[in-house]
């Protein structure tokens, strides 16, 4: 199936479901569908990497299968696992009147297989977006597993044989770049670095996400956040945090983002004491 017709169609359809993509994002999103290649999204936390995968699923009417990676994720959690407890029960329930032959054919069948996200995504008949989230958190061994799945879209289960995808899922991998992924994984993926949006785009995002936000205050807020991101902070404010900030200002009924208002609500966007001090110093807020 074709996921998107061309880059501009990709941009338009993503915008329909509430994701405002810039040129590079739209082109790469289209390309991943057109070439049938996985898309690797890298960038700081909170720039909308996971959101892009969800938006692709919404825009194309597919279902989202999500594999959240973590340290210690293994084949049994990512791909498939045999349901040992059920197999034990089955053996005990069969008792001694059944031969071993029948039993071992029986306990390695579909009924005892627990499919995990990767296998699920490959076996589905309907259009699927497979999101492999925070892939940099996994161990290197898992990359080998991903390679097998991402290059041929097939998985070999010794007792059942090879499962091949009838319909290729649209694969999105996200990474915060806490470690370099192996060259082999990167070779198989298209690469897109998502960064903080431009001032204009962030303004649009705020306008679409936050109801009742005054245009002038949005402008002030976006400018301040852009300013904060320029400082050498430990943790720069994400898009989600600027949306939170906007909501905070509305909740507190602050009509004008002056120094006092910034100082009072800075905790919404900055989460480190040293960042806080730095911002106060740089933005010249007079705080006691």
């Amino acid at each position: 199936m074709t996921w998107f017709d061309d880059p501009s169609a990709a941009a338009a359809r993503l915008a329909e479901v509430g994701y405002l993509a810039d040129g590079a994002t739209a082109t790469t999103t289209y390309l991943a569908g057109a070439l049938g290649k996985p898309l690797l999204l890298e960038g700081p936390a909170g720039v909308g990497k996971t959101e892009l995968a969800k938006a692709v699923a919404r825009a194309t009417g597919s279902d989202l299968v999500r594999l959240q990676c973590y340290e210690g994720l293994d084949e049994a959690r990512a791909l498939y696992e045999w349901n040992y407890k059920k197999q034990l029960l089955r053996i005990q329930a069969a008792g001694s009147d059944q031969g071993w032959e029948e039993t071992h054919d029986d306990i390695f069948s579909e009924e005892f297989l627990l499919t995990r996200p990767l296998l699920t995504a490959i076996r589905r008949e309907e259009p699927t977006v497979l999101l492999i989230d925070e892939v940099d958190k996994t161990d290197v061994e898992v990359e080998g597993l991903l390679l097998e799945v991402l290059s041929d879209f097939q998985v070999t289960i010794p007792e059942l044989g090879t499962v091949t995808a009838t319909r290729r899922p649209y694969v999105v991998l996200t990474s915060n770049a806490t470690r370099e992924l192996s060259e082999a994984v990167k070779r198989r993926c298209l690469y897109l670095h998502l960064d903080y949006p431009s001032v204009e785009r962030e303004h649009e995002i705020l306008a679409s996400q936050v109801d009742g936000l005054d245009d002038r205050i949005a402008e002030q807020l976006v400018a301040t956040v852009a300013r904060l991101r320029e400082l050498d902070l430990k943790k720069a404010p994400s898009i989600a945090e600027s949306v939170d900030w906007a909501r905070t200002l509305i909740a507190l009924e602050i009509r004008d983002l002056d120094e006092e208002a910034i100082a009072a609500t800075l905790g919404v966007v900055l989460k480190h004491a040293s960042d806080h001090e730095r911002a106060v110093k740089e933005l010249k807020l007079n705080r006691s």
Binding site: D6, P7, G23, A24, T27, T28, Y30, L31, A34, L35, K37, L40, E42, E71, G72, Y84, K85, L88, Q92, D139, A177, T178, R179, E180, E183, K186, R187, R188, C189, L190, Y191, L192, H193, A223, R227, D232, K234, H272, A273, S274, R278
Partner: protein
């Protein structure tokens, strides 16, 4: 389609471009090359920015490679040819130069007048921040003020440097700030914006000069000389000011990445002895079959680190970066002490408070350099002696000693016996040298002599540094 490409020379151009990327240190595989061609086939050549995005998505798989990629892309797929006759790419506004680039002013007054007019035009464009206009002006500026006709063969006839010297956009900042203030912007943000725009314009001019040279000599020549390595591969000793700022910004993310990697590797090896009780309890769920085993955690071993840095002019940057980097990894090491020296030793551990601001720390360290010099010339032997006398408590049998410096001791007495004693009193000792290994032992370098006592490692850029620290802490 394929025939078209071959006859138009696009394919050759593309292959040359990929070769240049490989030359600049991007590992582009054949598979990625094929992907990029397939991608272009499906997107088309209509829009230059889209072509750039397609090539970037398929060929450049690291963000740090992006500046290199962009510079080469601009050289191999220029937006305009010659003095700005539009090539039909949608990026240009299609306007060509007014033809004044060709008329060479005859007298110097006319020349000065032309320069003045151009600067006014430029200041106006910088004030409005019109991207298209700035691009056009950059091309015009190199064409008019950066031309160096009649230079000898082998020298390029365009120079961004000359153009920038003559027009001096940096001096326009005040003018631009004033313009922005009149628009009702506050002083601080106006200053920031003006500086940023002038910086961007300078980059445009440099890019345009590269483009013209590429037209003249072929892109491969430019790719060889004009494109700088990525920031992680850039040698400490050849970094410019702007690079240093960029490096400083990179230190903390790099340290964080390394810390994550270390914890992961540490956890992978974490399985200690079997926890019998938990295993048996868990096996109750599976009818007494212990399907999952549980283990006790291992006790982590962590290193005590003592860093001894040469902070004399030639290697000060390297020492500061390494100190910042090691201190960013505070949680990986048990304890840390840092000493700087030129010919006298001075402790700087206190500068690294948790949560301190790296820019501030760098400034403090530079200020502290004064304490490290009595006579102002690097003298390793003397520094080792002083260190042994003043801080005998710093080294113990569980300590790792790290010495940073280029081992250039101005032909003074090396005191190898002192270093041997120091190295003998600790668990392990390393020496990081920011010079290329081929220069060790040339001139007054005592690298071979010291290298015989302490293992000496070449550490010229951030990548090598992080690899070393990884092995040290792992």
């Amino acid at each position: 389609m394929a025939d078209d490409r071959q006859s138009s020379g696009l394919l050759d151009r593309h292959l040359a471009f990929v070769e240049a990327l490989r030359g600049a240190g991007l590992s582009v595989s054949l598979a990625e090359d094929l992907d990029s061609v397939a991608g272009l086939g499906s997107v088309g050549w209509g829009d230059r920015e889209q072509v750039r995005q397609v090539l970037a998505a398929t060929l450049a798989k690291r963000q740090t490679q992006r500046p290199t990629f962009d510079a080469l892309f601009d050289v191999y797929y220029p937006a305009l040819v010659g003095d700005g006759v539009s090539t039909g790419s949608t990026n240009d506004d299609g306007s060509t130069d007014e033809g004044d680039a060709e008329e060479s002013p005859t007298s110097s007054t006319a020349d000065a007048q032309a320069l003045q007019d151009f600067r006014d035009e430029l200041a106006e464009a910088l004030r409005s921040g019109d991207e298209q206009e700035l691009r056009r002006l950059a091309a015009q500026m190199v064409g008019r003020f950066g031309a160096m006709p009649g230079r000898g063969p082998g020298l390029s006839s365009w120079s961004a440097y000359t153009a920038l010297q003559r027009v001096a956009p940096q001096q326009l900042v005040d003018q631009v700030v004033q313009g922005l203030l009149d628009e009702g912007m506050d002083e601080e943000s106006a200053g920031r914006r003006a500086n940023r725009r002038v910086g961007a314009f300078t980059a445009l001019v440099e890019g345009d000069a590269r483009r013209r040279i590429a037209e003249e000599k072929g892109p491969d020549h430019v790719a060889d000389v004009a494109v700088r390595p990525t920031i992680e591969q850039l040698a400490f000793t050849s970094a410019r000011r702007a690079d240093l700022d960029e490096m400083r910004r990179q230190v903390f993310p790099l340290a964080r990445r390394l810390a994550t990697r270390l914890t992961q590797e540490h956890h992978a090896r974490r399985r200690g002895p079997l926890d019998f009780r938990r295993t048996v309890r868990a096996s109750v769920a599976t009818g007494g079959v212990p399907i999952t085993t549980h283990h006790r955690p291992k006790r982590p071993h962590r290193t005590d680190l003592v860093v001894l840095c040469d902070v004399s002019g030639s290697v000060a940057n390297f020492a500061n970066f390494t100190l910042l980097f090691v201190f960013a990894l505070r949680e990986v090491f048990q304890s840390m002490r840092a000493f700087t020296f030129i010919d006298h030793v001075h402790e700087v551990t206190d500068h690294f408070r948790p949560g301190a601001d790296p820019a501030q720390v760098m400034a403090d360290l530079s200020a502290a350099t004064a304490h490290a010099a009595l006579f102002g010339r690097t003298n390793y032997g003397r520094a080792f002696d002083k260190f042994e006398q003043s801080y005998p408590d710093a080294l113990g049998p569980r300590t790792t000693l790290l010495i940073l410096g280029d081992a250039r001791s101005n032909y003074s007495d090396l005191h190898e016996d002192t270093l041997r004693r120091l190295a003998g009193s600790v668990r392990q000792s390393w020496w990081l040298n920011p010079e290329h290994q081929r220069n060790w032992g040339t001139g007054d370098s005592a690298a071979p002599a010291y290298g015989a006592i302490v293992d000496m490692v070449e550490c010229r850029n951030l990548t090598q540094l992080s690899e070393f620290v990884h092995d040290l802490a792992g």
